[in-house]
């Protein structure tokens, strides 16, 4: 958009028209900033309400003051307490294990495919791309009954069998990884690799010294997206997790309160805050990279 200077060339120069123009520009700006404020409120208000509630004394759960009154840290203590059969700390650890292993595996496998798809010319390339794209559109619920039968016959649905959660998570993380990385790779200046080799680097050196540093931001962004997708997964985990391998999403959904059938809102909001705040910090920190990764892949995490 062009900058909004006081007088636009080509328009009438009479004072009345000028004043009108300035006024309408000012009105336009006001409206734009009102719109921006609305977007910020849209994104942050419910999130803010979660944090405020997390710090509220349980007796004031439904207080509607916009800031926390009767501030307490009890909810966080209760969230980590195992008295009511919640194992939140363990679930956090499980989510980290599942998220990290899924991300590493998806990246290890996906990076080769993305390299080939963006850089090499081979028969069946579009078939492979279509297959991976189809995989990213696959409904997770169609995996549940066959995998349940398979995993239960393998004895994976008891004890500490993290593979029962990690293997299905790959079905979401891998297509996302390949798709996003392919978009990143196809934007890279591969000619630099050629010229490095012309200057005498071996292919390995050219890749390590020239291409890898250039690819690092794309790899890192893709890893974040894959990790978020694994961290947020619920459907398959809710079916395949045991009490030992349960990730935080399932733990939060099943949080038990002091009385049966009564939702422990403040505790759940505290647990939600703990699960969300690290993600939010990460998102704020790598905001630009994440936006480019999201738009590159066009796949929801």
């Amino acid at each position: 958009m062009t900058a909004t200077t006081g007088t636009a060339p080509g328009t009438t120069t009479s004072d009345v028209a000028h004043a009108h123009h300035v006024k309408s520009e000012r009105w336009k700006n006001t409206r734009a900033y009102a719109g921006l404020a609305l977007i910020v409120i849209w994104g942050l208000a419910p999130f803010y309400w979660m944090i405020v509630t997390a710090f509220r004394d349980v007796g004031y759960t439904f207080d509607t003051t916009p800031w926390p009154t009767h501030v307490t840290l009890d909810n966080f203590k209760t969230a980590f307490s195992t008295d009511r059969g919640n194992h939140f700390a363990q679930a956090l650890g499980n989510s980290v294990i599942i998220g990290v292993v899924t991300t590493v595996l998806a990246m290890l496998v996906g990076v080769f495919a993305a390299y080939a798809l963006s850089r090499l010319h081979f028969r069946g390339k579009y078939l492979v791309l279509g297959f991976i794209l189809g995989a990213s559109m696959f409904p997770g619920v169609a995996l549940v009954s066959p995998l349940f039968q398979l995993f239960s016959s393998l004895g994976w649905l008891t004890g500490a069998n993290y593979q029962a959660l990690i293997i299905p998570d790959i079905s979401f993380a891998l297509p996302l990884t390949v798709y996003t990385l392919t978009a990143f790779f196809s934007e890279m200046p591969w000619e630099l690799e050629e010229s490095a080799r012309m200057d005498g680097c071996t292919q390995g050196q050219a890749f390590r010294k020239i291409m890898l540093p250039l690819a690092a931001p794309g790899l890192f962004t893709t890893a974040i997206l894959a990790f978020i997708s694994a961290w947020n997964e619920f459907l398959l985990a809710s079916q395949f997790a045991t009490s030992t391998t349960q990730p935080v999403t399932v733990a939060i959904a099943n949080f038990a309160g002091a009385q049966p059938h009564q939702e422990p809102y403040t505790t759940v909001m505290a647990a939600g805050t703990i699960v969300t705040v690290p993600l939010i910090i990460m998102v704020l920190f790598f905001q630009r990279a994440i936006v480019s990764g999201l738009t590159a892949g066009g796949v929801k995490g």
């Binding site: 062009t2 977007i39 910020v40 849209w42 409904p139 392919t182 619920f234 079916q239 480019s292 892949g297």
Partner: protein, 357 residues
């Protein structure tokens, strides 16, 4: 480096510089070799379960036979698992499943899933377009706004659902705010229509940012000169929007709509945690995915039939979008002009957004 150019035995020039044809042979083998691990893994985690679900769906569930009252072990079922859902046939003919039983819920669940999809995606397109237009202007604090809009997207859906459960509680803030405008408190997760709209509101809150970002990426491709030309020609704002903006962002918009449509068609976490699929008569928010999960506790084989039906519906919708809707997800170059690069969902847009500050 002391090595000379001559020692580079196989210069790997990009394919465009090569003669077309046989010279690509080595690269072809390498390409297939590199994509092979991904193909193998996806076959194991997706294709194999899909095929076994189809096979399972033609088996009878073990359990009590409705007709005889005796326990039966299963065995081949023919199409009965499919007629069970599609005709609500519980063993004694069409529509024999008692009202409210899982077997009678396929069509209501399909209807409610389609309702969620149409309403949710429409609201997201409208709001997403609006948000993207606002964010497309130059302004200070752009980073802050983009970060704020990413927050709903980053929160795990399970937490989102619990958060909105709290907001929609009887004594919660939503009813409190409604009280200000004189509306009496709603049973958000108890009554049929409030429960349905609770799901839609939470979903729209969470996923509009994704839509807005993809649309924004498209908007940033349009040069300001196009708009200036339109202004000089005296186009109204509405004309500018419908004749310039919409056609120019069609591809990214359709890709976003495709992915969101498929997401809502398979929606599970949000209604499952927010309402348990209930509301109203007990299944007002039971989507297709929730129905599959409820059925799994009753019998795997009819659940497999249902999940196969869900898969077919989703594949059909994706096909319609890609074939007729202009959702050009894999931007395959035209024949004869095959480039070296695979273009995915408007890469210039990616650049534009990435460098947008």
């Amino acid at each position: 480096m002391s090595t000379t150019v001559e020692t580079v035995t196989r210069p790997s020039t990009p394919p465009s510089k090569r003669k077309r044809g046989g010279l690509n042979a080595g690269q072809g083998r390498r390409g297939l070799f590199l994509v092979l691990p991904t193909i193998v893994v996806l076959t194991v985690v997706i294709v194999y379960p899909l095929i076994s679900a189809v096979i399972l769906s033609f088996q009878k569930d073990s359990g009590l036979d409705k007709a005889t009252g005796l326990f039966v072990e299963g065995g081949p079922a023919g199409l009965s698992n499919y007629t069970h859902w599609l005709l609500a046939d519980c063993g004694t003919g069409r529509s024999s499943c008692p009202p409210g039983s899982i077997g009678s819920l396929f069509w209501p669940a399909l209807t409610i899933t389609l309702f969620f999809t149409v309403v949710s995606v429409s609201l997201e397109v409208v709001l997403g377009l609006w948000f993207a237009t606002i964010m497309n202007r130059e302004f200070r604090g752009r980073g802050l706004v983009r970060a704020a809009i990413l927050v709903p997207w980053a929160i795990p859906t399970a937490v989102t659902a619990k958060l909105w459960l709290f907001i929609f509680a009887y004594d919660g803030i939503a009813n409190h705010l409604l009280g200000f405008v004189g509306i009496s408190p709603l049973l958000w997760t108890g009554d049929a229509w409030p429960a349905r709209f609770a799901v839609i509101i939470a979903d729209v809150w969470k996923t509009t940012p994704f839509m807005a970002l993809l649309i924004l990426a498209g908007l940033q491709l349009i040069g300001s000169d196009v708009y200036e030309a339109a202004q000089i020609d005296g186009a109204t704002r509405w004309q500018t929007f419908t004749r310039i903006t919409l056609p120019m962002i069609k591809v990214p918009l359709m890709v976003a709509v495709l992915f969101r449509t498929l997401d809502v068609l398979r929606i599970f976490d949000l209604p499952w945690i927010l309402t348990g699929g209930g509301g109203g008569d007990g299944h007002a928010t039971t989507t297709l995915s929730i129905l599959v999960i409820k059925q799994i506790r009753e019998g795997f084989h009819s659940a497999s039939a249902l999940s196969t039906i869900v898969f077919l519906i989703i594949a059909f919708v994706a096909f319609l979008f890609i074939r007729f809707g202009g959702a050009d997800v894999v931007q395959r170059p035209p024949k004869g002009a095959r480039g070296d690069k695979v273009k995915l969902t408007e890469n210039p847009a990616v650049e534009a957004v990435a460098e947008g500050n």
